[in-house]
């Protein structure tokens, strides 16, 4: 729950954003995040983000689902309550495969959705600072974290020279918080938007 100073640069074109990201990174600035209106191909590579481990988690959830189904059904039908169904053996594996498959899919799907929400810090009542309302509309918003040594004016000029159409400095909460937005965070009261 610490407030930090950020420099925000807004770009209106993907083609300008990519070289800018590259230059900002090679100049040694630390990019907090880039907010885009849609998923941009290759931006994760440009930002140097590591590969997501979501699929590994998905595999583990899937395996868990298969094992759960197999162990449950086999225990029920061979130990707990053996029934003669159509003269089939008690351990009737082919008949269980559809259920094993379904539970695999269910566990993997639900588990991955929850993990995804966790990784993105998405949950009811969880709030985060919005750097620019138009990041959900038509602007690519690059947010750079400032240190004590960062010269804010230099950085803003640097961003503008690399094609930023709008720059600004914000002191904001870096993580998430529970509850509601502060008054000055209300989207519809953002004066900049009204002006634009």
């Amino acid at each position: 729950m610490a407030k930090k100073k950020f420099v925000v640069g807004c770009f209106d074109d993907e083609a300008v954003l990519f070289p800018a990201v590259k230059k900002v990174r090679t100049s040694g600035y630390k990019i907090h995040d880039v907010y885009t209106p849609f998923a941009v191909h290759g931006l994760d590579h440009a930002l140097g983000l590591r590969e997501t481990s979501l699929h590994t988690a998905g595999f583990i959830y899937g395996i868990t689902g298969t094992t759960t189904a197999l162990s449950c059904i086999s225990w029920i039908f061979t130990r707990d309550w053996p029934l003669n169904i159509g003269g089939k053996p008690h351990f009737a594996l082919p008949a269980w495969v559809p259920i094993m498959f379904e539970l695999t899919v269910l566990f993997a799907a639900v588990g991955m959705v929850l993990t995804f929400c966790y990784l993105c810090q998405l949950a009811p009542f969880v709030k985060k600072h919005h750097f620019h309302a138009r990041a959900t509309d038509d602007l690519f918003v690059m947010v750079i974290e400032c240190t004590d040594k960062t010269n804010v004016d230099d950085l803003k000029a640097f961003l503008s020279s690399n094609g930023a159409v709008e720059t600004d400095v914000q002191v904001a909460e870096e993580g998430w918080w529970l509850g509601r937005y502060d008054k000055d965070e209300m989207m519809f009261e953002n004066k900049e938007i009204v002006a634009a």
Binding site: H41, H55, G86, P94, A95, P98
Partner: protein, 409 residues
């Protein structure tokens, strides 16, 4: 573009290898003909013709799967396959050749009245058998020959028309209007092929050519099962040729990104194959009706048990566990290994589909099978290699080529 090597030349080594394979195959073919084909023993004769049947059908279908791949990606307005589309095209030029061989073998079997292979050819048996009588409208020599001729003929002609159109992309740059008309004509021709493909591989042809060996038995899954088998091996064949050409320094525009997508096809259709394999098996296992279980009796509990389950391991477990990871689908060595394994696995699958019904008492897999396999592999390498030299490897004026160049997974 000038620096890109687009003209394929057959390396001497490839020629030597393919001639050697064809040579081995021809020796096996002649030996098989003398020892088994002309044998007085019906079992030996049946084994010889059965071996020819499943090999010809398998290779025709997997080469035809290449044309199907081009047609469906065209219909889906796909762009990513353009940088290597000349490879499936070249593979599909084998359809008329392998198709003619298949045709010759099947016509010989039907016209030669080989009722040990197709029981429904025996008119006396059909007359006294209510089940076969009911199927006589479909399972009779005239329908068989007409439908087989139509099938192989139209595959060849519609595929040829698709390839002809593709050559237009080599001639001159297209403006927007010309490009749109080019894409539209592609769509029409691809749609025609796809419809005919669905009517044949998707339904009638596997019933007619292979399922009718068990004249009394039927499964509506059978055709889809055969289609999945041939399509996944067809994609593996495309992958092998792409990797081969990459290793020789061609196809600069094709990269790991394209290989990743081909790998996805191999992975996805292996799972699809298993889905059909299991659906067919489970329904019959569950209902447990004697006229249906007869098909699985000697496969699951009889001499074919080993091959039957080996099949499941090679064609399901290996692709599932090995191809699941993203890095595996982008790894040239692993894809090569898996492609060879998948093609072999489905060849074995076709073996048990045909020979499992013809020789129920014992497994006959031996020198003849591998000899004929080598004949077909040799012909395929030589034929596809020659077809590749006839056109540039990249359709450089294709309107969607750029999409393929910047393709990213």
């Amino acid at each position: 573009m000038a620096s890109i090597k687009t003209q394929f030349e057959i390396p001497g080594k490839m020629k030597t290898w393919s001639y050697a394979l064809i040579g081995v195959g021809l020796v096996a073919l002649v030996a098989g003909l003398v020892i088994k084909g002309f044998s007085a023993d019906e079992h030996e004769q049946t084994q010889f013709w059965g071996t020819l049947m499943y090999n010809t059908i398998f290779w025709t279908l997997i080469c035809n799967a290449s044309m199907f791949f081009i047609c469906v990606t065209t219909l889906a307005m796909g762009g990513w396959q353009q940088s290597f589309r000349r490879i499936p095209e070249a593979i599909s030029t084998m359809v008329p050749i392998f198709g003619a061989i298949t045709f010759a073998v099947l016509i010989y079997v039907v016209a030669g009245h080989k009722h040990h292979i197709y029981h429904w050819l025996d008119s006396e048996a059909v007359a006294n058998d209510p089940i076969l009588k009911g199927k006589a409208g479909f399972l009779n020599p005239v329908f068989f020959i007409v439908w087989t001729t139509l099938t192989i003929g139209l595959w060849s002609i519609l595929g040829w028309r698709m390839r002809q159109l593709s050559s237009e992309a080599d001639e001159a740059p297209m403006d927007a209007e010309k490009g749109a008309s080019f894409i539209w004509r592609n769509t029409i021709r691809a749609a025609l092929f796809t419809v005919w493909f669905a009517l044949t591989v998707g339904s009638t042809i596997p019933w007619l050519w292979m399922m009718s060996i068990d004249a009394h038995w039927y499964s509506t899954m059978y055709s889809w099962y055969t289609f999945a088998s041939s399509f996944v091996s067809g994609m593996s064949l495309v992958a092998l040729w792409v990797i081969y050409l990459k290793n020789k320094g061609y196809l600069e525009l094709t990269s790991q990104e394209h290989l990743h997508d081909i790998g996805k096809f191999m992975f996805a259709f292996s799972i699809f194959w298993t889905y059909l394999w299991f659906s067919q098996y489970m329904l019959i296992w569950y209902a447990n009706i004697p006229e249906e279980t007869v098909y699985f009796k000697h496969r699951v509990q009889g001499p074919y048990k080993g091959i039957f389950f080996l099949n499941l391991i090679i064609n399901f477990l290996c692709p599932l566990l090995i191809l699941m990871k993203r890095s595996a689908k982008r790894n040239y060595t692993l894809i090569t290994f898996m492609a060879v394994l998948i093609i072999f696995g489905h060849w074995i699958d076709f073996y048990q589909m045909v020979m499992g019904s013809l020789s129920k008492e014992h497994v006959t897999l031996g020198w003849l099978d591998f000899g004929i396999l080598s004949l077909f592999v040799g012909m395929m390498i030589l034929g596809v290699g020659k077809a590749l030299t006839k056109k540039p490897l990249v359709p450089k004026y294709h309107p969607f080529l750029k999409e393929s160049v910047i393709h990213q997974v």
